[in-house]
Subunit: 379 residues, 4 copies
């Protein structure tokens, strides 16, 4: 019998499975540059906040913008369905674990009001910061013009999986090159996880790609659908697509690793894997200023037939500023995230994010398997 | 000293170790086709119910048939040993953990009554659905004609491991080509897990092969015998055998991955690994209509000398219809299994099961190792 | 900088990491042959009992011999240091966990009495079975002649690690070819784990090799010394040495995998990895007839300066006969071990142990990672 | 689409993932030689104590020196900031878990007193042993001359990551060749983990290199920064650098594996991976004579903005002499560490540390996955 032609499976890696190797050169942390750019807009820290209702409202968007980052407001959730979203958010926070998903299924069935789309954009702009908002592909044709008109700076078209080619019988679908041509503002698209899908999206003319399917704390796509690629591998693959697109077109399209982050070390690993920036959900849901009252959930959660997410209680731990810049006496990597990025860049000898993307990584056992059994046996 | 010739060990993979990569194209879930065929019979959903006494009785067979799937009734268990199996099933459900195996050893030592074989087949046919029943190889010569005569549509010949060539001193064994020639209905055989054993079975002329040794919830073959191949690898190998058989003979023999499923995501992974359909045991044992009262066990359990299984309490969670089609507010992949298949096919850009078999998979750490430590530290 | 020459590390495997693939042919369990030979002596089951004080006394040796296996009596422990070992064994069983190691350090410092060496051998022979006893290398020159004279049939020379070449300043060491030449009975030696060390031992003329360093339940060599090779890899390597020795010399020297067994499945895996037989410690310590009162420990445990073992409470579960031959209603692989071997051989299509050594194995995740989470979430 | 150029990730290994293979020759433990040399100074045991405030004070330095090893006193901690460090150490031991990091941030903000630098060195020298002290790179220019003047024998320049080339805007940095030229005593530098960084450091003329970033019990660099390489791989790589440097320059520069050790077996594994000696922190923090009162923490812990460590309670278990030389009735590898090294060298047939570096290692599952489930099910 001749050898059969088995399907080959590639090994993929998540944050917990890799570690960074220090460089042959080191740099003082105060000499590294953490700038990140989308189209012509420069941010001083490579950190975005997720377009999730427990994470970003108008206030958080302004706050993070002033600190140098970018928060994306979700135009498909409570912010555009309710005049007073705070009340609805409080209701979600109060719901018991057993009833919360069906409550959300109900809350998210209220219609989106077009006037609220414009109002939220204008409110963020009045805060004096860059305004980025997200829409799902199905709503993009309808809301994109409103966003641009209201003064929005960046449009994020986001769903669990977004591709350059979508088959649908209902109506003529969204065509990215047409959208981008018609809009005066840059478009960021996501999410994707593979080399080829990312390259396809970049070739449509987008100004950024969100990377990540299935890794987030509040996402259960892997249990429900079996779909998901661990974030280190997804980032490595999409970074390779970015390099190829750069070589072919001369355009540098940044990739933003979105979801699955627990600690500062995870952020450093995403950058070393090739990310230009990271998008944080559950981490920012812990900020004192977060709208979710210490709770966090994703947009797949309220799906009426097949919810794929859970509400997570992350608690409220510190003001946003302390989470980002410290100082702190927490030793677990949950605070002073920018300090962690700068320190790691210094140890890796990386003066810029672009250099940090060259850092050597090794596949390493999860941290609990070395040097920690002592600790556990003593506790 | 020259290098010795060590035996090579191939790495195998189970459901928890792989994940699906979304496609470069996406399709709306309502446009995918989930049809599955055995011989000339088409089913609208690629889902079978296991021939296990806690899972399938006449009522479940009719119910699942009407929903588009196929339940296989076990002709070697309580259904053909007792006029009133419901009473015996209730007794098993009431037994304590300590006494249940010896109770089952006793219950399953009652003789099989030929008249009940015919009665069960006729009862299912009266329900207006396709009727499939299972027999062990040792009973096949005796019961197969009765099944065909009573109007059965599909005969499943099933034991822990079934091969095309079995050595036995007691009598002239079962020869599949002869059986198939003599029977007017299609024969499905199992279980097997390797490329060569599967190809051998396909060459005997069977109309389907069940794939899986050792993975099921209620099976302890790996502890007791050391035997078992994780389901992703078993499915990949048997799918390769199907392709080879197709190329050589022009006959398409479907493979059905049987056992080890916990969540909707596992079903999607089996299809992506090459399965044409899946056979569910413990998942369906949770249906309100299941005969096992929330309990589940395999046919290896009552073995008189060397039992290789345990009775599992899976509980009763929802009506069969909700398990298969939702809607649901469960977020863990335990309900709306068909919705999960359709959604996953959409994300993977697969319009048919045959296309879904081409989906890229990666080896990925179990879901608990990424993005979930936060959740756990907060609970 | 040119690439450095890193030390290469080979991956090794233990019982929990592999699984057996069923064969393309199957055989009825009652038609397989489980014979095993040392020199000219044939045993009907390929199972030995470890030379450990909690496992084997004169009574167990006779009992297992009559059932077709071989129990090795330890001549370096309480059996030869005390006229009435039963009393001492009861004292060890009664000791608290905190005091047991120092108690053993004291008990095992009593001198060995030569008359007891002869008495134990004679007592076993009076039972009408093959008599095998073990000595440490340092005592071999002194006790080997006594064993042969008293009628012993097989001499086992055993220590944690035994090699063909040992460097010692104290006196002229044990030289195996000289020992074998001088003794009228076959010599079995151990333990070893590597291809080269095993081949060296076989070339000295021994009649069997014990395989296993560090895997046993009662052994802590890996924590204390870092030394140990998982049993599947150790068995594969030593089986390769056996084949080479056979090809070069025409002598077939059996290998006996010693230690680390928990369940019947582990025994089947050892045979499939190439073992001719297995040696069980903790499994037999559970027999009602075992001298250890449900406790089990190794000879490294009482070491006066650096103990490398622990006393394990295994409990007392069943008579030896039931452990070996059933019947049982236990479903976890702890009883009817011979039935498990026969059934596994049948599923793998192996008519003899020699054929069983050819069975295909795969590297498979530990059994807890597939199909079992359901069960756990329900318990 | 042509295959993209993905970043390659190398697999790395920690202590728990490897095991030593016994040799083809064995040696009596009393015939092995465990000598270790830094420049011209010979130590009879290859064991150093970490420059950590909970581990080494003047008393411990003298005690370990007299037993043949080397304890390094930390000149950047409480020993040089407080006249009476014992009082401060007691305060740290008494602090609650919640307050200890901020307490340490305060305690470690006190200035270093130059007179205490000289006093500590002189006190150790008065004990009649080799005196080694550590300084951070930023303080090296200032304190190195004081150390030499006061009679120090070995200067250790140590920080989390130290490279031969550091970029800093503040002032002209430390240049190792200049330092080494200007100092009359040998310089040991660390820490590093990669082949190239280690080779760079060796080429500056240092007399030893400390290996290890991120593995220690009290270190959380992997969570906070994502940085760290498991110790077996780090040691293998730096040992390869040592061999290359030896071949190119004729100078043998020893490497000392620093951190992550739990048991005697870990030490044996580090030596087999290529280490010349090991540096122990948490292990020695358990000595009755340790200054930390059973607590242990690293110098990254009191960092004012971004602490990367935790205080670990290791407890107080035995006098230093018993930890190193036994005798013991502990069976877990926590005591008689030198006995464990000698025994392991004997089993591996290594007469010297240099020979021990040639021992074969295998990648092996963590010890808990084989032969231990029995034990757990019985506890």
């Amino acid at each position: 019998m001749t050898a059969p032609d088995f399907k080959q499976l590639r090994r993929s890696y998540g944050f917990d499975e890799v570690a960074l190797v220090p460089g042959d050169v080191t740099i003082n942390p105060d000499q590294v540059n953490t700038d990140f750019k989308i189209a012509d807009v420069t941010f001083t820290i490579p950190i975005l906040a997720s377009a999730m209702d427990g994470v970003v409202d108008v206030n958080m968007a302004i706050l993070l913008g002033k600190m140098g980052g970018l928060a994306v407001l979700n135009l498909d959730g409570v912010q555009t369905r309710y005049e007073d979203p705070a009340e609805v958010l409080a209701e979600i926070a109060r719901a018991s674990k057993a009833e919360v998903t069906s409550l959300m299924q109900k809350i998210y069935s209220a219609p989106i009001k077009e006037n609220l789309v414009s109002e939220r954009v204008q409110a963020i702009k009045q805060g004096g910061v860059v305004c980025a908002v997200s829409v799902v592909p199905a709503n993009t044709k309808r809301f994109a013009p409103l966003v641009a008109e209201a003064g929005g700076d960046i449009l994020v078209v986001q769903s669990t999986v977004t591709t350059a080619r979508h088959t649908s019988k209902s109506e003529r679908g969204l065509i990215f090159p047409e959208l981008i041509e018609s809009l005066p503002i840059p478009v960021v698209v996501g999410n994707c996880v593979s080399y080829s899908a990312c390259l396809d999206l970049m070739r449509t003319g987008v100004s950024g790609v969100l990377v990540g399917v299935g890794p987030g704390t509040a996402c259960t796509s892997r249990q429900v659908l079996g779909i998901g690629v661990p974030q280190i591998t997804a980032t490595l693959d999409c970074a390779a697509a970015r390099e190829r697109n750069l070589k072919e077109t001369g355009r540098y399209v940044p990739i933003i690793t979105d979801g699955g982050f627990n600690k500062g070390g995870d952020i450093c690993k995403a950058l070393a894997a090739g990310a230009d920036a990271v998008m944080l959900g559950s981490v920012f849901a812990q900020a004192e200023e977060a709208p979710g009252h210490g709770y966090h959930w994703g947009m797949a959660n309220p799906h009426p037939d097949l919810p794929r997410g859970t509400r997570i209680e992350v608690g409220t731990t510190a003001p946003l500023k302390q989470l980002l810049f410290g100082p702190t006496s927490m030793t677990d990597g949950s605070q002073n995230l920018v300090g962690a990025i700068r320190t790691a860049m210094g140890f890796c000898g990386a003066a810029t994010i672009r250099e940090m993307q060259q850092t050597e990584m090794v596949i390493a056992p999860a941290i609990t398997t070395e040097g920690k059994s002592w600790q556990m046996s003593q506790s």
